[in-house]
Symmetry: C2
């Protein structure tokens, strides 16, 4: 039962597209991620996924639309929906999703992150 300061946690890492776990609620995890550039198209067949933008601007491309999120905005990406996060400048986000979800979902590849890095 300790408070978690999100800004302080972001100071603890610099690698991109590599989610760091900061908390667990039941079988869900809160992860911080720094992103810039393009991620891969992917989907999570079994779960929705929440993105909250804490700093900067995140664009999420869907096959039928593009949504841009600024600081203080969030979105729930429904299960099974292909999406491709992108950011033109470094952006800090929090992802909330069930424990064990892999960042690249169904596609894998070089951007697939380790899934157990706590900070």
């Amino acid at each position: 039962m300790k408070s978690i300061n999100l800004s302080e946690k972001f100071k603890k890492f610099s690698d991109l597209w590599s989610p760091k776990i900061i908390a667990e609620m039941n079988d869900y995890q809160f992860k911080l991620v720094k992103v810039v550039g393009d991620f891969v198209w992917h989907k999570h067949e079994d779960t929705d996924e929440t993105f909250i933008v804490l700093c900067g601007e995140l664009t999420i491309k869907f096959r039928d639309r593009t949504v841009t999120l600024s600081k203080g905005e969030m979105i729930i990406v429904p299960r099974g929906i292909e999406h491709k996060p992108t950011a033109t400048a470094e952006c800090q986000i929090m992802i909330i999703e069930p424990k064990g979800v892999v960042n690249t979902g169904n596609v894998g590849g070089v951007l697939t992150a380790k899934n157990d890095e706590w900070i």
Copy 2:
């Protein structure tokens, strides 16, 4: 798949200690709450509960400690742990918890909020 602007959502209500649902992820809900003064001691036997402070300062009393959270800080209150949120000035928070969780947990009382108010 729409973005949700948290500041805009907070403009839509003014009542205190009355969670408003803004999003669902699987069987979890994101709720915004404005608080000031003292809530009741209570616990949730079956679930952890996440508090994120978006504006102001929130104090959560536990039986063995007190934790104060400022803007940009969060805490996970474990299942079964008695807690009493308080705020000396109005504070805006987001709560994340499974759908159906009642704000007053095991104790009920006059501060028990309706559990189906979407904004």
